[in-house]
């Protein structure tokens, strides 16, 4: 009988979906002209993604019980 494929947790799937959504919003041309405090939205969102993604990944990894 075939073995089961690897599985991902809801948290891991949520993290990947969140990163994809943030990147999609940041890189969509529709928001090219949007600025916050004089800085383009794309820069704000990408800087935020750069820090938020590892924070999310770290929380998931620390909560994991595997070894």
């Amino acid at each position: 009988m075939s073995r089961a494929m690897p599985t991902a947790t809801r948290g891991e799937i949520g993290l990947l979906v969140g990163i994809t959504a943030l990147a999609a919003v940041a890189l969509t041309p529709l928001f090219d002209d949007v600025e916050i405090a004089g800085v383009a939205l794309i820069a704000w969102l990408l800087w935020f993604t750069m820090v938020a993604a590892p924070v999310g990944g770290l929380i998931l990894a620390l909560r994991s019980k595997e070894d």
């Binding site: 599985t7 600025e35 993604a53 070894d67």
Partner: protein
């Protein structure tokens, strides 16, 4: 003073290599993955040293001023995201597999004669292009800081890291990476503090920066939208297949440690890049009013000269060389293991003993290292383009077959092979066309996914796949301890 500090730094690297040699000379497990004994602290610093190269550190300030925050953000944000993607998609399956290299995964999952040759050859070609560009960078830095001519700096820096990689293997690379990672991070924080103190009132400096460089924070119109997407996507996907990153996943003590260290390293990297954006960029704009932004590397060093004394400049020189050498050493290790482990032992002499494989790998280190040094003496004009393309090539060829091979049951060897070759070839064709910078991956990567899926659907028989099941057997060992709440 700067010369003494840098020479002392080189001696420390070689000494670490010699100490590591005593542990690794008899075992391929020790030589290639440091006995799979590396803990979270060690691997976190080693990951950050592996990623932070000369370009990402030295060019950061000047690139932001020259290209604006949006494109600089797209360039640097992809890699931290890529490490998180790797920690979710590939870290657990690869660590459980318990092998040495990227080709090992493809061999275990697909057992394809074509992949046994194509994967290591692609690894060697792409890594060599990367190494040459890093060598050129190290020679320029050493020349700028120490007053050496280009060739002298190239040979000294090149031979130092070839020596410590060849004698101490991955353990030597790792110990040196820890040292280099801590040195680099400390110097970036120190430079941030010194620059912050030197530039005076921060709001005034920030406003002056915006006035002097109005394009810095403006709308994202410096490049085509496809360039932003391509730059981000290249690194977000390539990290999962970069051979010198994957070797660190294999070397981790366990799955959890691998995943924690991947994310910790990127948090530290993110802090470094925020120091660049928030402090070093306005400091450079304020303290260097006539800065030449067409030479971004020199801008970083000029800023350091402005805010540091002689000792600080010497330590920073060592830190910049550390950033370059740690990445280069990891890549050289990826090349030598592809030759010694994957091609020599995997194809030419499967019966070779551990000592013989280590000797072949050490010879390969010298051959590849010296070839790269020779090519870096007269590097082609398009070298920087070539290095970015090397990373995107690996992403286009390997990402789809690896991720689908892990997560999609119906992926077949024929499908993965078609995706791998098709992704690489279409990326190469796109590279010859006049497309926006960094956008070629937007053709190679989707094509690789489509080919892998389409050919797998056509060739999948629906019957049990013994090779796939043998690979899945390696994944079941820690199932009881795995996370709860699986969703599919």
């Amino acid at each position: 003073m700067t010369l003494m500090i840098v020479l002392g730094y080189f001696l420390v690297l070689i000494a670490i290599g010699m100490v590591a040699y005593r542990r690794v000379r008899h075992s391929t497990d020790e030589f290639f993955v440091a006995g799979r004994s590396l803990g979270t602290f060690v691997n976190s610093w080693a990951f950050i040293a592996s990623l932070a190269s000369g370009g990402s550190v030295m060019a950061s300030v000047g690139s932001a001023l020259a290209l604006g925050f949006p494109f600089a953000a797209a360039l640097v944000a992809g890699a931290p995201v890529g490490f998180v993607v790797a920690s979710v998609l590939v870290a657990r399956p690869l660590r459980r597999l318990g092998k040495y290299t990227v080709p090992d995964f493809f061999n275990s999952r697909f057992d394809s004669p074509m992949m046994r040759v194509v994967v290591p050859v692609l690894v060697v070609v792409a890594s060599s292009a990367y190494i040459i560009s890093q060598l050129k960078g190290s020679a320029i830095v050493a020349g700028h800081l120490l007053g050496w001519d280009y060739q002298t700096a190239l040979w000294v820096a090149g031979l130092v890291f070839v020596l410590y990689v060849s004698i101490g293997g991955f353990l030597s690379v790792t110990w040196n990476d820890i040292f280099q990672g801590i040195l680099l991070f400390s110097c970036m924080v120190g430079l941030g503090v010194a620059a912050f103190s030197a530039m005076g009132d921060f709001p005034t400096a920030w406003n002056a920066t915006l006035e002097a460089y109005p394009a810095l924070t403006g709308a994202a119109d410096a490049h085509s939208t496809w360039s932003y997407v391509g730059a981000f996507l290249t690194w977000a996907t390539a990290i999962s297949v970069l051979p010198h990153v994957i070797m660190r996943v294999y070397s981790a003590r366990n799955v959890r440690s691998a995943r924690v260290s991947l994310n910790t390293a990127m948090l530290l990297y993110g802090v470094m890049m925020l120091i660049v954006a928030i402090v070093l960029v306005p400091a450079a704009a304020t303290l260097l009013p006539n800065a030449d932004v067409t030479d971004p590397d020199a801008l970083f060093l000029t800023l350091a000269d402005r805010v540091f004394g002689p000792v600080g400049q010497g330590v920073l020189a060592a830190a910049v060389l550390a950033a370059i050498m740690s990445t280069t050493a990891g890549l050289l290790m990826a090349c030598n293991s592809a030759i010694g482990h994957d091609l020599y032992r995997g194809i030419l002499r499967p019966q070779a003993g551990q000592k013989e494989v280590i000797r072949v790998t050490q010879v390969a280190t010298w051959v590849i290292g010296i070839l790269c040094i020779l090519l870096a003496i007269n590097p082609p004009e398009f070298l920087i383009v070539l290095y970015t393309a090397a990373v995107a090539l690996l992403a286009s060829a390997f990402f789809a077959p690896m991720v689908l091979g892990i997560w999609w049951r119906r992926t077949t060897a024929a499908g993965a092979g078609a995706g791998m070759v098709g992704g690489a070839v279409l990326f190469g064709l796109a590279f010859t066309m006049d497309l926006p910078t960094s956008s070629e991956v937007l053709i190679g990567l989707p094509a690789s996914f489509l080919l892998t899926i389409a050919v797998s659907l056509v060739t999948s028989s629906g019957r049990d796949d013994d090779v796939r099941d043998a690979w899945l057997a390696t994944q079941a060992t820690d199932e009881a301890a795995a996370d709860a709440e699986p969703t599919r």
